[in-house]
């Protein structure tokens, strides 16, 4: 319990630093959204609603100093007020809404996909070290690592369209957009979802296979395996009963290092596939200097990683009795 509390408290300075970095980055481009907005309207010869602009400028403190702006942004963030999206003319929380959940959904599914693929391959590669199967599977994993995600997404999109008739882009068939959830809609979403999951998964799988293989190889050479073998335990049972269990912990420990790359992958793949996740909107917000929207996205994505690492740390502490962190039993 003490460990959980300590771990949670440690998150606060980290998150504060992250929020500061995010705010500096979104403030860096010269000018602000309102300036470019006014310039654009004037260029089109339209009248500018100066009152609204002045109101927005005051409301969101664009005329205040950097420190004040940051303070009000951070305190607002804690209270659930993420600021105002100038481009959509809506509070950020309403714009972000579902997109965040979809990003989380895609990320979680990708983690499971990576596990399901990496697990048997890692197990096989470790038990058949230096065999043709080991080399071949490792090579395929490497190819997945080396192919840029966006291109793979594009090619798979094309073949899914040719061979399965999946409609191009989006997360569901156009007919289902704005429809209430139904069995058909869920099916359509699943039909579209596998492409991003597979594409994002391929890049992480190679790294996972290599780490799992190295980990398992270490375990396989430990004396307890020899002992079990000397006692006459069948190979498969021996493998599943001891080294396999130890390596299970590794899957949870690896979440922390997988999450940032999965989220990165999800962003760019979403752009190619025009998925209604955070990717396309983040790019748009960055390009139009919609600072609160961009800042919230960056903040949420980092938060996702920090929480993911926290969960994996806590799970490890529960699952792996070898990890006796501060407190608990002492020698």
């Amino acid at each position: 319990m003490g460990y959980v509390l300590k771990r949670l408290l440690l998150m606060i300075p980290t998150l504060l630093l992250i929020s500061f970095v995010v705010f500096v980055i979104i403030q860096l481009p010269p000018g602000d959204y309102l300036e470019s907005y006014i310039a654009e309207l004037q260029a089109q010869g339209e009248s500018v609603d100066m009152e609204k602009v002045a109101y927005l400028r005051e409301e969101y403190g664009l005329d205040k100093s950097f420190g004040e702006q940051y303070l009000s942004w951070v305190t607002g963030f804690v209270q659930g007020d993420y600021g105002y999206s100038f481009e959509y003319d809506l509070p950020v929380s309403e714009v972000v809404g579902d997109r965040m959940y979809l990003t989380i959904l895609v990320s979680v599914l990708t983690i499971f996909f990576t596990w399901i693929i990496a697990f048997p391959i890692g197990l096989y590669s470790a038990t058949h070290q230096y065999s043709w199967g080991d080399y071949g599977l490792t090579f395929i994993g490497f190819i997945g690592l080396a192919t840029p995600n966006f291109l793979l997404a594009l090619v798979m999109l094309y073949f899914a369209n040719v061979y399965f008739g999946t409609s191009i882009g989006g997360l569901m068939d156009e007919a289902y957009i704005n429809e209430p959830w139904s069995w058909g809609k869920i099916k359509s979403v699943l039909e579209h979802l596998w492409i991003p999951v597979v594409v994002i998964g391929t890049s992480g799988t190679a790294g996972m296979i290599r780490r799992l293989r190295a980990n398992l190889l270490d375990e396989l050479h430990k004396p307890y395996v020899t002992t079990a073998r000397a006692k006459g335990l069948p190979e498969v049972r021996l493998l599943l009963k001891y080294p396999f269990r130890v390596s299970l912990n590794f899957f949870i420990a690896d979440i922390g290092s997988m999450l940032p790359s999965i989220i990165s992958g999800a962003e760019i793949v979403a752009l190619v596939l025009s998925l209604p996740t955070t990717g396309p909107m983040l790019l748009g917000a960055l390009q139009s200097q919609d600072m609160y929207l961009a800042g919230s996205f960056l903040m949420f994505l980092s938060l996702l990683t920090v929480i993911g690492v926290l969960i994996s740390d806590l799970l490890l502490a529960v699952l792996d009795p070898r990890i006796r962190l501060e407190g608990g039993v002492k020698k």
Binding site: L17, P29, P260, S261
Partner: protein
């Protein structure tokens, strides 16, 4: 042999007491070899890494002579051959050996599908020759030259990998793109190594509050998903910058996210090594901290640093490719693999002009090569470990 009274035989040869101690010639070279020599021997055994290393070196040498290797100039447009598919090179004409040549390349418009269709005109032949003088170009922007690795007879075209929407030769563009894409990786890794070593040694050597702050910063940077942060940072680069400055800006952005791994490695090594006797000795003799770090501590694990730096080059090359693909990275006229791939952004390309996706082939090759090379270097970095 002389026989003694108790029937023991003793050899008469002069006895050298060191003969057993003396190492075999083979062992002697092994024991006397320098650390780098040992590393090279160990590295050589890793065949895949060795070949990858050769490939990488050749690639970096090739960027010096892009102008010669490329059949056409980077920006030369062939308005008659827009979206031409890869053109085949023939060796035999009517069953007879004639050496490499291409047939005439005819364009017809398929109005029902609104496509340009290319076909070979077997009545005309154009010879392909090697190391010949062709179009003049400015070598390194300094002097004019006209030597090309291969060129086609006057009047013919040589689009080995097809052309793009402006009728520019893809092969030439890929060769020129190599120059930018691989230097970004190299410059980026140099920047991130410098940052990693300086910041990591500050943290590791001094420890205390400096170490604490550096640790927190590294933790924060690592918890950002890379791509969104790269996107945000490259959105900061002003549109008014010249392409060259954008190039350096992007390199710096890639390096800014990458130094953390190296800094961590340096820090943990220094934390351990600064307690060693030879470090204390150097300190007692009045060496300044930078000197102790540079002369006494860093050499102890520099090979490891090079290995892990090699392993992080692929991430940089992929990062540039992704950013340019999104339109946030390099912009034309600078040509990198990412800029080329940005042209292959929609599904039509996959269906109709698949050769526009060819720049992905060098990307995959380079990334695989750096991964294998890095693996080999990492194994070789510690030659005393078996």
């Amino acid at each position: 042999m002389s026989q003694l009274a108790n029937e023991h035989y003793v050899c008469d040869d002069p006895y050298d007491p060191l003969s057993i101690e003396q190492a075999q010639a083979e062992q002697q070279t092994f024991y006397l070899a320098s650390q780098w020599q040992l590393m090279w021997w160990k590295f050589k055994k890793h065949k895949l890494a060795l070949y990858s290393g050769v490939f990488v070196i050749l690639l970096y040498l090739s960027i010096l002579v892009c102008e010669i290797l490329a059949p056409y100039d980077l920006h030369t447009r062939h308005v008659d051959s827009i979206y031409s598919p890869p053109q085949p090179v023939h060796l035999f004409d009517e069953g007879e050996w004639v050496g490499p040549f291409v047939y005439g390349w005819n364009q017809t418009l398929d109005m029902s599908r609104l496509l340009r269709v290319y076909s070979e005109d077997t009545s005309v032949k154009y010879d392909v020759s090697f190391f010949c003088s062709g179009k003049t170009y400015s070598f390194w922007g300094m002097f004019d030259a006209d030597l090309h690795l291969m060129c086609v007879e006057e009047g013919g075209t040589l689009f080995l990998l097809g052309t793009d929407r402006l009728g520019r030769d893809m092969l030439s563009r890929i060769i020129y793109g190599t120059r930018i894409s691989v230097t970004i990786g190299l410059i980026g890794i140099c920047l991130s190594m410098i940052m990693g070593i300086v910041i990591g040694s500050l943290a590791g050597y001094y420890g205390g509050w400096i170490d604490n702050i550096v640790q927190r910063i590294i933790e924060v940077i690592r918890s950002f998903p890379e791509l969104p942060l790269w996107m945000a940072l490259s959105a900061v680069i002003p549109v008014t910058w010249s392409p060259l400055w954008v190039f350096f800006g992007i390199t710096l952005i890639l390096a800014l996210m990458d130094w953390t791994g190296l800094a961590r490695a340096v820090r943990s090594k220094l934390l351990a090594l600064r307690e060693e006797d030879y470090a204390s000795a150097a300190q007692l003799m009045g060496a300044s901290p930078p000197r102790v770090i540079r002369k006494h501590l860093l050499p102890g694990f520099f090979s490891h640093l090079i290995a892990s730096a090699t392993l992080s080059i692929p991430a940089m090359i992929l990062g540039e490719t992704a950013l340019s693909f999104l339109g946030l990275g390099l912009r034309p006229p600078i040509t990198s693999w990412g800029v080329l791939l940005a042209e292959a952004q929609n599904v039509n390309v996959v269906a109709v002009y698949p050769w526009l996706m060819l720049p992905v082939v060098p990307v995959i090759c380079v990334i695989l090569a750096f991964n294998f090379l890095g693996d080999g270097l990492r194994d070789a970095a510690d030659p005393y470990k078996h």
